[in-house]
């Protein structure tokens, strides 16, 4: 199998690059964005080229699969499973969710000051933002059931106003960018009372919104976290189905036409990809050097951070739309640009999931024992916080996650192209620009991962 050998060759090249990375212990366990940073011993340009080449090569490998029925069979494969005692399980999950929210609010104000010993901080960042997100794209999205605000909103009366259609997903795009900006500029992971206050504010906004528009509409269209988990859940092999579970191959649901149905939702997918990058970008020396003249010129740091967030987002979005228009030309298709944008946005979710895993898996495993400990004794800090020390080779796992996300994305985009175009070669040609965009995203992200980590400057 020449094909398999090539694949092995690429795998070897990537592994060589991965082995060239030396593990470095993380200094501040409580802070967010604790990515798997390492010092690279090969020149940075070569490291980036290898990553980009791996993505390009996986596109070339995918292009060898031109059997339409095989692709369709892979994506159509599914099994249905029944959940035993479904009602009881759902009710229990709802109780757990509401109990978790109550714990964050109470322990945030009354618990220990040490962030790594405080259940509120650990539950929100380790349990929810790292752990639950990972479970959403690795297993399936449990958030609709666990979501305490959804449970509470169902208990409250609702005005059931109709949601203005022209708003679409834009409020959730703004909300996601805003929440991540807030997470970066404020010590939300180090200051339990501040975190609890923020959660209380979010609770107020969410419950009012759900009461005005009805919980179903609010969590479907406006609430950013609900949307994040729903999109991540599309990467996963398990999905909730009427009265049971539907099991499919990981990522195969991303080629479905109905996941993203508008330019606003395309914008949300790109935002999800961008905020993961931004989270790491603000801790690079390059960002600090870029900020220095700006801040000395008298620009408030918060505004500079916001400008950086928006500028980078516009750049990511522009790169994606450029790829869409270029794809129309390379494929010589009459399918509208909007339609192409909608269909080829979901593969980016696999990339976003890969980065999320790279950024948070170490953080999660490192602090999971502390979370368990804090859950048992929420109001007293232990003498020493229990953390799991990760072996030196663990950095390789992060790199593998980034690459796996890309392989999945390349494959899903390939399958989507086969669904969309009549010509097999036309489908392959439609992927040139998207592959180029993915290579660009990869190189940017690998560059962020390869930089030494500094504390977020000027805040």
């Amino acid at each position: 199998m020449a094909r398999r050998r090539r694949f092995a060759a690429i795998a070897v090249a990537v592994t060589v690059a991965a082995l060239a990375l030396v593990g470095r212990a993380s200094a501040h366990g409580g802070s967010l964005g604790e990515s798997a940073r390492r010092t690279v011993t090969v020149p940075t340009w070569l490291f980036l080229t290898t990553g980009g080449a791996a993505v390009g090569a996986s596109f070339l490998l995918a292009s060898f699969v031109t059997d339409r029925s095989l692709i369709e069979a892979i994506h159509a494969w599914h099994r249905r499973a029944r959940v035993p005692a479904r009602r009881v399980a759902v009710a229990a999950a709802r109780v757990v969710g509401v109990a978790g929210l109550a714990a964050v609010l109470v322990v945030g104000f009354l618990g220990p000051e040490e962030p790594t010993a405080n259940l509120a901080v650990l539950l929100v960042w380790v349990g929810w933002w790292a752990g639950l997100s990972m479970s959403a794209y690795l297993l399936g999205n449990a958030w609709p059931v666990l979501n305490p605000w959804r449970t509470l909103a169902w208990l409250l009366p609702s005005l059931d106003r109709s949601y203005p259609d022209r708003f679409g997903a834009w409020p959730s795009v703004a909300g996601l960018l805003g929440l991540v900006w807030l997470e970066v500029i404020s010590p939300l992971a180090d200051d339990p009372p501040l975190l609890a206050t923020t959660v209380a504010a979010y609770t107020a906004v969410t419950l009012v919104g759900a009461a005005v528009f009805g919980p179903a509409t609010w969590f479907r269209r406006v609430d950013p976290p609900a949307r994040v988990f729903r999109y991540y859940g599309r990467v996963a092999p398990v999905a909730a189905d009427e009265g049971g579970l539907r099991v499919r191959l990981p990522g195969t649901a991303l080629s479905e036409a109905k996941l993203v149905d508008g330019v606003d939702e395309v914008a949300f997918v790109v935002a999800l990809l961008w905020v993961t990058t931004y989270d790491g970008l603000v801790t690079t020396p390059a960002w600090r050097d870029l900020l220095l003249p700006v801040v000395t010129a008298g620009v408030p740091p918060l505004a500079a951070y916001l400008a950086g967030m928006l500028f980078g987002y516009v750049f990511f979005l522009a790169a994606y739309w450029l790829a869409v228009y270029a794809s129309r030309r390379t494929a010589r298709t009459f399918v509208a640009a909007e339609e192409l944008a909608r269909r080829f946005a979901p593969p980016l979710l696999a990339i976003a999931a890969g980065y999320h895993l790279a950024h948070y898996l170490g953080y999660f495993l490192n602090l999971a024992p502390a979370l368990a400990e804090a859950a048992l004794t929420p109001f007293s800090a232990p003498a020493a916080v229990l953390v799991l020390d990760l072996p030196g080779w663990f950095g390789g796992v992060a790199l593998a996650a980034v690459l796996l996300g890309h392989l999945l994305a390349i494959w899903v985009a390939h399958a989507t192209a086969y669904d969309l175009f009549a010509g097999r070669l036309q489908a392959i040609r439609s992927q040139y620009p998207f592959t180029a965009a993915m290579v660009l995203y990869t190189m940017i992200s690998l560059w962020v991962v390869s930089q030494p980590e500094v504390t977020v400057p000027y805040l």
Partner: protein, 108 residues
């Protein structure tokens, strides 16, 4: 394609009498200054005639007459030859990437 409980690619159950292509029409943006080949069954526009022929075989397999089946097969075979050429190039590119990187890593 005509089994009553057939489930299409996206996992929706499609009644046997519904043509698959008609259930998922795309949005099109057709320029006025280029030749357009339209499918007379579902109206989809194509920039090349062989893509229209392929489309008929892929999306309306049960509704074709003998001549259309024949043109589909021809278009498919032509494309097969083109794909073979493309594969050679792709393989060449893969080898180039692999050995190029290997050299660079060996030198450094």
């Amino acid at each position: 394609m005509s089994d009553a409980h057939e489930s299409d690619v996206r996992g929706r159950d499609v009644p046997a009498d519904v043509d698959r292509a008609a259930t998922d029409a795309h949005d099109y943006d057709v320029p006025t200054d280029e030749p357009v080949y339209r499918c007379d069954r579902c109206g989809r526009p194509f920039a090349r005639e062989d893509w229209l022929r392929l489309h008929r075989g892929i999306d309306h397999p049960d509704a074709l007459d003998d001549e259309e089946v024949e043109t589909y097969r021809d278009a498919f075979a032509d494309e097969q030859a083109e794909i073979r050429r493309f594969r050679l190039k792709a393989l060449g590119a893969l080898i180039l990437i692999y050995f190029g990187l290997l050299m660079v890593y060996a030198v450094l």
